[in-house]
Amino acid sequence: MARVIFRWTVLSVMGVFFLLPLVAMVEFSTRDAKTWPLLLDWPRLSAEYPALAEGIVASLLQAALTSLLMLVLLVPTAVWVRLRLPRLRRLVEFLCLLPLTIPAIVLVVGLAPVYAWVNYFLGGSSLTLVFAYTVLVLPYAYRAIDAGLSAIDVKTLAEAARGLGAGWFTVIVRVVLPNIRSAVLSAAFLTVALVLGEFTIASLLHRTNLQVSIEYLGKSSAGVSVAVSLAALLLAFVLLLVLSLAGNSKKGKTS
């Protein structure tokens, strides 16, 4: 009995602590009745808050491009290292997990000179942040993809396909990729969620994205900025919740 009381006390106190800020965001952003309708009206939003619109577009493009670059870099490399260069696996793993121990703010310090060159060659578009973001998501994406590859017999699959005359490109795109679909999907989901929430690098390299524009907006119109925060949060919530529920139900299979 004492255990049941303890349990429900802890759960309800924590529940209040975690729900209160979300409830407060709803209350805060509905103080002005015009805030939410404005968010749903894209032409008016981009006319009234051009910086915000620019940030939203930039973040969506960054998320899509980072997912793409991450997949193009990681999947072939992970497969290739597994099949042909098993000795390099340790090194690849180390490099992929390295960003976990380097705080983003430290990475910015080191990236600043590299980005001086990127600016020189590619211009100062906010889309060039995709390179830095790919580094940021490496640990999470690598773990997801590596777990996916461990769950299937890559070697046999690849040998069978090669034996039937497939080239390496075909092996990776048409044989391996479909078999690790859920791992690739979860890597992409994580990437999107992380990129949508990224602020440090964009703000310190003077680029724009969703979070930078929200922060900027916070100085002039608090209501709208809280509403956008809530919307962005709910989007990330849905993405990650779908991911973790899907991951849970199939735990026995993949890990």
Binding site: V10, F18, M25, V92, L98, P103, A104, E198, E215
Partner: protein, 298 residues
């Protein structure tokens, strides 16, 4: 036929080179990682020991780390990380324990762990704004309290200082603790408690002599992970604190954006190196404890 015969010796000869061509497949990955991860890391390390003209080896930057204001910033960063890690660890462990006393595959547990997975990632500007909407000067809770005659800010606005940052950080520390500590709690078998009780032990003895020592390495390890997590965080603090630079990441922001004091860039690199050292030490201890935990978790 002749072609194949001519080919054969070449193929044998090229076997050592096969490894070389296999390496070609990893070139894009290594090139990318070199440019955007290895070079930036080296830039920080080398820059920390480089003089202001960009030339020459110097210890001046590292020595500047002992300046009072930088020592203070590191001290406050460590205090903030330690307090939010401890609070997060204790409350997170309680929540995790509340979960394991329930059904292991129940809906509640699945919902809470899924929510914890999401909330542990929740940080940055959005989190700062969530708390501004809650206990900011015109926040939901602040207004409600003031209506009832209580002013949380009667003794000054602490939300933008260390106590406020600790509170906000707790919001992502507790869920992280639940995620990393839950496996250790699951490793404690109910049979051990039954054995303990059947040998005449009571609850207090069970926690201090059996479960406590078993869980200690996992608990300490998780706390260290939380510490590193808070120590590395930047965006939440940056969005919340616009004036002054109480903690190291904000000091680095100052060094990076400062246009008044030239030559601050390498001081920024020295502070960044300091951060890396702290995080590296903490993570090394973490993996050490992780190994001890893994021994009995099996």
């Amino acid at each position: 036929m002749a072609e194949i015969a001519a080919d054969a010796p070449q193929r044998v000869a090229s076997r050592p080179r096969l490894r070389g061509t296999a390496l070609l497949g990893t070139v894009p990955f290594f090139a990318f990682v070199t440019i955007f991860l290895v070079i930036p890391t080296l830039t920080v390390v080398i820059g920390a020991f480089t003089g202001d003209g960009g030339r020459g080896f110097t210890l001046a930057n590292v020595r500047a780390l002992t300046d009072d204001y930088i020592i203070d910033a590191f001290g406050r960063s460590i205090a903030l990380s330690a307090s939010s890690a401890l609070i997060g660890a204790v409350l997170g462990a309680l929540l995790a324990y509340a979960l394991v006393t329930g059904r292991p595959d129940g809906l509640l547990r699945r919902l809470v762990t899924a929510a914890a997975g999401v909330l542990a990632q929740f940080g940055g500007v959005t989190l700062a704004f969530a708390f501004l909407a809650t206990i900011g000067l015109s926040g939901f809770v602040t207004l409600w309290l003031q209506e009832h005659g209580l002013d949380p800010y009667a003794n000054g606005v602490w939300l933008f200082e260390l106590p406020g940052l600790t509170l906000v950080y707790t919001y992502f520390q507790i869920p992280l603790m639940v995620i990393v500590f839950l496996p250790a709690l699951d490793g404690i078998r109910p049979q051990w408690r039954e054995a303990h009780v059947s040998l005449g032990g009571n609850t207090w003895q069970y926690w201090t002599r059996v479960a406590g020592p078993l869980l200690a390495p996992a608990f300490l390890g998780s706390t260290l992970l939380l510490f590193a997590n808070a120590f590395s965080a930047y965006a939440t603090a940056a969005a919340l604190v616009s004036q002054g630079s109480p903690i190291v990441p904000l000091q680095i922001r100052g060094a990076l954006t400062s246009e008044v004091v030239l030559g601050q860039a390498n001081l920024g690199k020295a502070m960044a190196l300091g951060m890396v050292v702290v995080v590296a030490v903490v993570m090394a201890l973490y993996s050490l404890l992780q190994k001890r935990t893994a021994k009995w978790l099996g």
